[in-house]
């Protein structure tokens, strides 16, 4: 017994003293002191030298999109470094193209801050925050779509434009060895800054959707980071054409709810397509919106109605619906949301009907 204890003590002693020496060395050698981090020549932060740029930014609550968590395997965390980035690293070359490299684009999770650094990021990113949201409710609105409402932690708020999306951090679970982010459009109105609503459709073998549909419990917390996105409501007087299928309803819902809250009385027509009657959801609220917004018209079509649907409305795809009802008079702008093939074919129709391409806003769900 004494032999064993003595062995353990000796080995631990040797490793312990080496660890002590290394920590001392780390303090002396790897200490780069405090460095200045200047973002957009406007905001200045003091960060610990030697940390990666990504972790320094997160520490200052500036959230650069990153799906892999700084492992250098997703390539999302690119930022433009104007000064002080040091040498371009071999670990970055897989994700940064030659043209980007010439413009100073770097992978912020690989670059270590060793001198004062000046970077440029899109201004909106200052608005991006990551919180662990509490789940208010999870509801099945169809057999494939879950309607989720989550609340921000006490005292926190989210500011987004109606139509933008948020990223959901899927934790590790059995069958998913890695944390990943997946984007979901926000369905709630930005006027409600303390909670977020999402429609999450089930995708077979989808990592995040499997998590939400099969593993998420109401007592869990959901990590969301956002908002992001170039698809959002543009104020103005033009008539609005909205087209969505499936979970593409989410950003449209956010815009409509926002218009209701703000009492915006623009002329809006929303073309909503679905497969069968049981795939339609949120219909009560959409009908109610139709009453509350005098200039809002909802048009629904089913592409494959069955007898059980008992459907006497329009049949076909949203493209058929547009051909049938959309007029060519007046200035219009369009908001499209759903699968890429749907959006591509809708864009063609809208262009034929005289909407200029730059007034067609869309969000492809891939």
């Amino acid at each position: 017994m004494t032999v064993i204890i003595r062995t353990v003590v000796i080995i631990s002693g040797i490793s312990g003293s080496l660890a002590y020496l290394l920590s001392l060395a780390n303090k002396v050698i790897a200490n780069y002191g405090e460095k200045k981090l200047i973002i957009n020549d406007d905001k200045e932060y003091t960060v610990t030298g030697g940390d990666t740029l990504l972790s320094s930014l997160i520490e200052q609550e500036v959230f650069i999109p990153s799906a892999c968590g700084g492992k250098g395997s997703c390539g999302y965390c690119k930022v433009k470094v104007l000064e002080g980035g040091g040498r371009f690293l071999p670990t970055e070359s897989g994700y940064v193209t030659k043209e980007e490299k010439e413009k100073g684009v770097r992978l912020s999770c690989q670059l270590k801050v060793k001198e004062d650094i000046r970077i440029k990021i899109p201004e909106e990113l200052f608005n991006v925050k990551q919180y662990d949201y509490y789940i208010d409710f999870i509801e099945d609105v169809t057999d494939k779509i879950k309607y989720i409402r989550v609340n921000l932690p006490e005292g926190k708020e989210i500011n987004f434009k109606p139509g933008q999306y948020i990223q959901l951090l899927t934790p590790k679970y059995k069958g998913n060895p890695e944390e990943i982010y997946r984007a979901y459009s926000i369905a709630s109105s930005p006027n409600d800054a303390t909670s977020v609503e999402l429609f999450i459709g089930f995708v077979p073998e989808g990592i995040a959707t499997t998590y939400v549909h099969e593993h998420l419990e109401p007592s869990d917390r959901l990590t969301l980071v956002g908002p992001y996105g170039e698809f959002y409501y543009h104020p103005g007087d033009r008539e609005m054409i909205m087209v969505a299928i499936g979970t593409g309803l989410a950003p449209i819902m956010s815009i409509l709810r926002y218009m209701r809250d703000e009492q915006i009385n623009r002329k809006v027509t929303f073309y909503f397509g679905s497969r069968t009657r049981s795939d339609l959801y949120m219909m009560d609220e959409l009908r109610q919106l139709e009453e509350e917004l005098p200039n809002f018209k909802l048009r629904v079509c089913l592409s494959r109605p069955t007898k059980a649907c008992n459907w006497d409305g329009d049949e076909g795809r949203v493209t058929d619906l547009l051909e049938k009802y959309m007029t060519e008079t007046g200035e219009k702008e369009a908001y499209l949301c759903g699968s890429p093939p749907m959006i591509d074919s809708v864009i063609e129709i809208l262009k034929d009907k005289g909407i200029p391409e730059e007034l067609i806003y869309y969000d492809k769900f891939e």
């Binding site: 062995t7 000796i10 290394l22 060395a25 780390n26 790897a30 040091g86 040498r87 071999p90």
Partner: protein, 196 residues
């Protein structure tokens, strides 16, 4: 204690008992990093430093801690811990003060930890029962020998860049063949001195 002049051990470990060319230890970084003379020389210096320091440190720990307590059977784990700690230290120094070198060595710098030449030196030193001075010179000599071999290889490979090599032999293939030929050439030194 073996009665060999420490200087003989020093010279022998460079030429006749070269770690790479006589023992074929430490081959992976030898093949991977021998693209450029400058980088090879720097890695050689790092290896030499780690080799010299760890052979002394391991000697002291082995003879003054492990032997008195009959713990010789723990030498592998202790040697590896000491080597790993030293490589960590070298990495910190290089990252801080020689940034360009740090990036050109890449993963091969931390991989010195498991460079078999380094553990090999510590184990040979124990097996051959060297004293402290012999160990020190054996470590330093092996490091210099390793550097010599990798720099020579880098020099040859520099010439090879303009040579037409059969496609299937490019890169590591031709490097291994050259290593073999170099080993044969170094065999010629074996008449000078002999240890072991």
């Amino acid at each position: 204690m073996v009665e060999i002049n420490p200087l003989v051990i020093f010279v022998a470990s460079i030429f006749t008992n070269n770690m790479i060319l006589a023992n074929f230890l430490g081959m992976c970084s030898f093949i991977a990093v021998s693209n450029e003379i400058e980088t090879s020389f720097s890695l050689g210096q790092a290896v030499t430093f780690v080799l010299t320091a760890t052979s002394v440190l391991n000697y002291l720990i082995y003879h003054y801690v492990l032997v008195p307590y009959n713990l010789e059977y723990l030498r592998f784990i202790i040697f590896i811990i000491v080597i790993a700690a030293f490589v960590q230290l070298v990495e910190m120094i290089i990252e801080r003060y020689f940034e360009n070198l740090y990036y050109s060595l890449g993963i091969f710098l931390p991989l010195i930890t498991v460079n078999c030449a380094i553990l090999g030196v510590s184990l040979f030193m124990v097996i051959r029962d060297y004293n402290l001075l012999q160990s020190l010179l054996f470590g330093a000599g092996s490091g210099i020998g390793w550097t010599l071999a990798i720099v020579a290889m880098a020099g040859i490979r520099k010439k090879l860049k303009t040579a037409s090599i059969p496609k299937g032999l490019e890169g590591p293939g031709i490097t291994l063949i050259i290593t073999g030929i170099m080993a044969l050439a170094f065999l010629g030194f074996s008449g000078i001195v002999k240890i072991q």
